[in-house]
Amino acid sequence: MTTRNTSRRNFLLGGAAAASVPLLNACGVGGSTADNSGAAANDVTGGFDWKKASGTKIKILQTPHPYQQSFQPLLSEFTELTGIEVQADLVAEADYFTKLNTELAGGTGAHDVFMTGAYFIWQYGPPGWMEDLDPWLKNTSATSPDYDFEDIYEGLRTSTRWDFKPGSPLGTGGQWAIPWGFETNVIAYNKRLFASRGVKPAETFDDLIQLATDLTDRSKNQYGIAFRGSKSWATIHPGFMTQYSRMGCKDYTSEGGKLVAAMNSPEAVDFTAKWVQLAKAAGPTSWTTYEYPDCTRDLGNGNAAMVYDADSATYPKNKPGASKEAGNLAWHPGPAGPDGSYATNLWTWSLAMNAASKQKLAAWLFIQWATGKDAMSKATKAAFADPTRKSVFDGAFKQTLGAFPGYLETFEKVIDSTKIQFSPQTKFFETTEDWAVALQDIYAGQNAKSRLDALADSNTRKLAS
């Protein structure tokens, strides 16, 4: 409620500003060009002090998530430490990225800090909507000597660093976000059910299909495996992309600096057809609407025997009282590839700064605090799974894992081969949603080969234009 004043002020400021620019450009065409030179970071001088931005107020945009929920109670500590007031706005995950995109596109700087993932940087870093955090990290006046950026797993740090050149690998260029929590995509299963049926998790993809099909009994409203299937890019990135990579498939190949879609390679067609077959034979009935909450709900209710999705998404369902099957869940890396690959797709929830923010120092202090050792350790005691700091993971987090059979083992098995399996490119969301649409079409009976050919053709063209 307190922010209504802000909106009104923005309205007045905006109105005045708009009046001074030529008509068509003022209203309707031409976005803001944010200052992205790092000048804001360099303005901060002198010794580091948490109270440097005391008395200011920032807004952060988040999606409801175990991470966010774990941090919510700690926000008052931040305010105490820095004198900065924080208002956290929440948008449900289904709408989150649309909201985030639209807000950043608007260039209003309404939210100073936002939760984001690596893919997001690819598309929305280039227009200059995100602040490069590298100058902030390097400025000792702005960053605490205790921060220890190197403590964050290197794979994660590089996943949020990119130079915006399509096809160029991650790890060079600006630091667009600081990794906060991360997820590996593995199988969570109902140990109780597996025990009663005398089965073990599958080690190969064909076995997984067989196992899941065996565990499916529609008359009891029970099915083998849940994974996402909705019309969204998010359908591709967890279980599908993980197993896709393990089977040796690539999304794009780079030919002469140009990306060429490879979703229709023979092995990709073969795998995709099997994946869709799995969804039909042993997946949820309305698979094409399934998002991760649906998957984990069914696991928690005992309807689904397995879920192939983020470990941190299934993790909270095993907390006592969180679901019907709490205490009965266990984790497994999922099937290896034919060559024994445990390639796993990575998702990092990171914190990024809005380039249009008017409180950049305060925003940076918040990011620094949230990704710092103290706060992350405290959050881990709630439901914050997979902290990005090695010190926190090995320290506070491991202590919580006793009641989560296989969680740590699974994590350790896949972590070395866990990275972002997608090729960085600026039309990630659109082309990846098209991919999900293709899966749905194949699910509805279209020929996998021809459908994927069409997809690859269309995506190659989209990237070229």
Partner: protein
């Protein structure tokens, strides 16, 4: 039975029963979802996916939805959205009335050049695909700071409320004999006083019907707040859909409770203006 459906003489036959059965069938279909929503809203979380009709009802969900507790669970600030909806829609209707009544009066009283164009333009707003206007508005709003504000919503909702108000009221003004106002003029009253003294009181039912119907349609609108608001000025319709994916958890009972609360104001308003509904819904084309 069939003959009875025609105007004129009434006759009671065995067929009546058949007709009643048919109509009953429709109403089972028509009311079942609403009844189901009410039932779901009365369930606890553990009952929401496990039972259909047998459960112990609780009113707790309504309290949860409206309170901070619901926001913590689902990340939807529903009471805030209710307030925003009231402000957005109330403001939009008010603006439409202030601007629409004179325009409707002019269009209903005089034949002047461009009046038909004006009315047709109004009507075309009713039938225009919303996104055609909303996408540029989204860009404009972001540049001018109208994004996610009540002012911005009031402005864009004119697209919904203004045509309704102008068309309905024009039909009422057209029905009103101009001689009443002429009599007032000859009684010695100025045009403005004649309008206020004679015309306005007589179209009051029309104004009430148009205002309430416009409020209902503004309330029920989804595309505008979906695109042009975020957290500050977002409305009930957007908030209800947020429950579906809210918090990564499925609170269907809360969703149903929110849906019920969100559906209630239009239902109550519609029942109060039922007599004028047909005329309003058809933009004055059908005078019941």
């Amino acid at each position: 039975m069939a003959r009875e459906m025609m105007p004129g003489r009434r006759r009671f036959t065995a067929g009546s029963v058949g007709a009643d059965l048919l109509i009953l069938l429709w109403f089972v279909f028509s009311l079942f979802p609403i009844v189901w929503m009410v039932l779901l809203a009365l369930k606890t979380r553990s009952q929401q996916t496990s039972t259909y009709f047998a459960f112990s009802p609780t009113l707790e969900n309504f309290g949860t939805v409206m309170s901070r507790r619901g926001e913590d669970l689902t990340s939807v600030n529903f009471s805030g959205a209710l307030l925003s909806s009231v402000l957005n829609c109330g403001g939009a209707v008010l603006v439409s009335l202030l601007i629409g009544i004179p325009a409707a009066y002019a269009a209903g009283r005089w034949k002047y050049r461009g009046s038909e164009d004006l009315m047709f333009q109004m009507l075309s707003f009713r039938f225009a695909p919303e996104l055609m206007v909303v996408v540029p508005l989204f860009v404009i709003y972001n540049q001018t700071g109208l994004f996610d504000t009540t002012y911005g919503m009031i402005w864009v909702l004119q697209l919904v409320t203004m045509p309704l108000v102008v068309w309905i009221l024009r039909s009422y003004f057209q029905d009103l004999s101009p001689e009443l106002e002429q009599a007032a003029l000859l009684d010695g009253y100025t045009r403005r006083r004649a309008f206020v003294m004679v015309a306005l009181p007589l179209v009051r039912p029309g104004i009430a019907a148009a205002a309430l119907l416009a409020f209902i349609f503004a309330w029920n609108n989804y595309v505008f707040p979906l695109i042009l608001t975020d957290s500050e000025a977002t409305t009930v319709t957007v908030a209800v859909t947020k429950f579906l994916g809210g918090g990564g958890q499925a609170y269907y009972n809360l969703t149903a409770a929110a849906a019920l609360i969100g559906a209630l104001p239009p239902l109550v308003l519609a029942l109060t203006i039922q007599r004028y509904l047909v005329r309003g819904l058809s933009f004055g084309a059908v005078k019941a």
